[in-house]
Amino acid sequence: MRRPSCGSKKKRVLETGPAPGAVAPRRARFNDAQIEMSHGAGGKASRRLVEGLIAPAFANPILAALSDAATFSLGGRRVATSADGYVVRPLRFPGGSIGELAVNGTVNDLAVSGARATALMASFILEAGLPSDVLRAEVEAMAAAAARAGVPIVGGDTKVVEHGLCDGMYISTFGVGEVDERLALDPRSVRPGDKVLLSGPIGDHGITILLARGELDLEANLRSDTRSVWPFVEALLEVCPAGLRWMRDPTRGGVATALNELARDSGLGILLREEDIPLRREVRGACEVLGLDPLHIANEGQVIAIVAADDADRALDAVRSVTGGEGACLIGEVRADHAGTVVGITLYGGTRAIDMLVGDPLPRIC
């Protein structure tokens, strides 16, 4: 185990109060008449649904943070829990399958909350007529992914619905883990000057699924990036536990949506240098052809971390030293100006606002 090379091992005390210039985050209202696909796409409509309809009914202090995982104290320890449903079509795609996603997705929601998954549970909704071999393959894929992530699947549930009432199979997973005591991740701890670290090229998962549907006459040598991101988090924890302010795995809605949420919750601005954002040629080409912004495309194996400026280089080296993290980059920084928004610096020094995902470019990608 490597020794921490910076920061202190004692629990960091959260700097109190909102950042200078912060505006109180505004929670969305939900007035939509019916549920649309966009409510599941992870962008603005999803935010309205959760903040406007679901969260008010369940209102409690733990839920109020509305982060990837809920963290609370249990027997004197900080525990993170996360639940996630998986409805991807097709069930299998280059680089992964619904079973692998179901394990990695929940492991990752815990990881970016600073918790290594201790145990997972899985609930299956199966469609009558689903070939047993398909289910067997997914259960085996889950077992393999869980083994790779070092987490046991300790329980679950199965239900079967009539043929035609679900698309083969849906999986929900629930996970629990212990939050690393050195961490105090909070959007309000983010400060102007902090750097934005991204663990690798974006958009692989979303574009892979889009192409795997076979509805476009496009082919590319691309694979989903689904994997556990815990090794990245662990590497960051080793080198800069105190300088690690906030993390997110940018799934539905992509990097743009995750950073817009941070901008809103912190009351600060995020400035991204577009030339520094890692992107595979194939993803870029597909996005150019289809008119999509790679910053809105889903990832299933990347982390965005906000790290203190002094720790940024060490943090970058640490992530790059992890297998699969070679493509990590510092893509921007936190600013006091542009409060509440994400701004891109284009190749030519121009600026553009980078908004959350509006609508739904890619239905059912996870």
Partner: protein, 376 residues
């Protein structure tokens, strides 16, 4: 990570060189208003932050070349009325899915059970009809001369194959009459045009000659990469400096001066001009849209289906027309960013990502949106 035919036109060094040449060409004492006609240009300008590269006295006015934006609400209602008929699939481009009719967007109607599917080409819709012979597939056709030829070829193919469970609801429009309408408008304040690259690849450059000859305004047909656009703007500015007005072609690698004869022939075989057609934000413009010729009546949705055909006016507060003509900029509209935003567009230009207001909202309105958040 280079992309052939893209990165050559995004080279920061070349961009800087053209930007400097633009700065040398403009008269600092003069204000320039140049309209980029095409929505693809508008999107590219905001996407690449090109307004920051131009001198402050060169103002870009965003034109009517966004087919989704100029589609009147009544036509959306008509298309959705077809979708509501039993045993009908309405196939449309992804851009259409969030365009609101009076009873909701195609996406909302789909969520309520209407069979509305997104296609990437009219040929996909035809194939859908062939694969589902007991269902009628109606293709909701939109677009300028850029997309009209593919609709025409699809109809020729449908006739050749004898596919009878397929029809086209044509909302194709033509760009030249819209430019003429803007030029004839009394509050028009434009100095020149960046002409539409994709449309011109079909119709060529000649149809724009009236702009130079009768109205004395330069037109430069340009491509969609940052370098194309800046070069096009530079060519307009040079004409203005030299007191010239002519049609020039910056996009020679794609646009032949005389256009694409095969595509034009297909258009002439299938379509004829409507006497008049309504444009959102601009009103009725004569001979500005395409309908199917009577030979193609069996494939014409407007013949095969009863549609309400009711005109729906935009809310009076929406100032789309003024923005289209360059009289106002998007944030100067009373509704911009408030009642009218990309999730709930009220006016035409907020509808598609190529619309001036949507592009402005998405890429340029940082300060405004912060104010909006703070107000709420």
């Amino acid at each position: 990570m280079t992309m052939k035919y893209v990165d050559e036109f995004r080279d920061p060094a070349l961009i800087t060189a053209v930007a400097q040449e633009i700065a040398r060409t403009v008269d600092p004492a003069r204000h320039y208003r140049i309209m980029e006609v095409c929505g693809g240009h508008t999107h590219a300008i905001y996407r690449h932050g090109l307004h920051d590269v131009l001198p402050g006295n060169v103002e870009l006015v965003h034109g009517p070349g966004c087919p989704v934006c100029v589609l009147p609400t009544g036509r959306v209602d008509d298309g959705l009325a077809i979708a509501a008929q039993p045993n009908v699939v309405l196939a449309c481009f992804g851009d259409m899915m969030r365009v609101p009719g009076t009873k909701g967007t195609p996406l909302e109607l789909k969520a309520r059970g209407a069979d509305i599917r997104m296609v990437y080409s009219p040929l996909d819709a035809l194939k859908m009809a062939q694969d589902n012979p007991r269902t009628h597939v109606c293709f909701f056709a939109i677009g300028f001369e850029t997309t009209a030829p593919s609709t025409a070829l699809t109809l020729l193919r449908a006739r050749e194959l004898g596919v009878r469970n397929f029809s086209v609801f044509s909302n194709h429009v033509t760009i030249v009459p819209a430019m003429r309408a803007i030029l004839d408008s009394p509050d028009m304040r434009l100095d020149g045009f960046v002409g539409p690259g994709h449309v011109s690849s079909i119709i060529g450059c000649r149809p724009f000659e009236f702009v130079a000859q009768h109205y004395g305004k330069p037109v430069v047909v340009a491509g969609f990469e940052p370098l194309d656009l800046l070069e096009g703007i530079l060519m307009v500015l040079r004409q203005l400096r030299d007191g010239e007005s002519k049609v020039e072609n910056q996009y020679r690698r794609i646009v032949p001066w005389e256009g694409n004869h095969a595509a034009l022939r297909a258009l002439a075989t299938v379509f004829e001009l409507r006497p008049y057609f309504e444009w959102r934000g601009l009103g009725f413009i004569s001979q500005s849209a395409l309908k199917l010729k009577s030979d193609f009546a069996p494939w014409d949705s407007e013949v095969q289906f009863e549609v309400p055909g009711v005109r729906v006016t935009d809310p009076r507060a929406a100032q789309c027309g003024e923005i289209l003509k360059g009289v106002l900029k998007p944030p100067q509209c009373k509704l911009f960013g408030k009642e009218c935003n990309p999730e709930h567009p009220v006016g035409a230009l907020m509808v598609s990502s190529e619309g001036a207001c949507a592009a402005y909202y998405r890429y340029a309105s940082t300060e405004l949106r912060v104010e909006e958040e703070a107000r709420a």
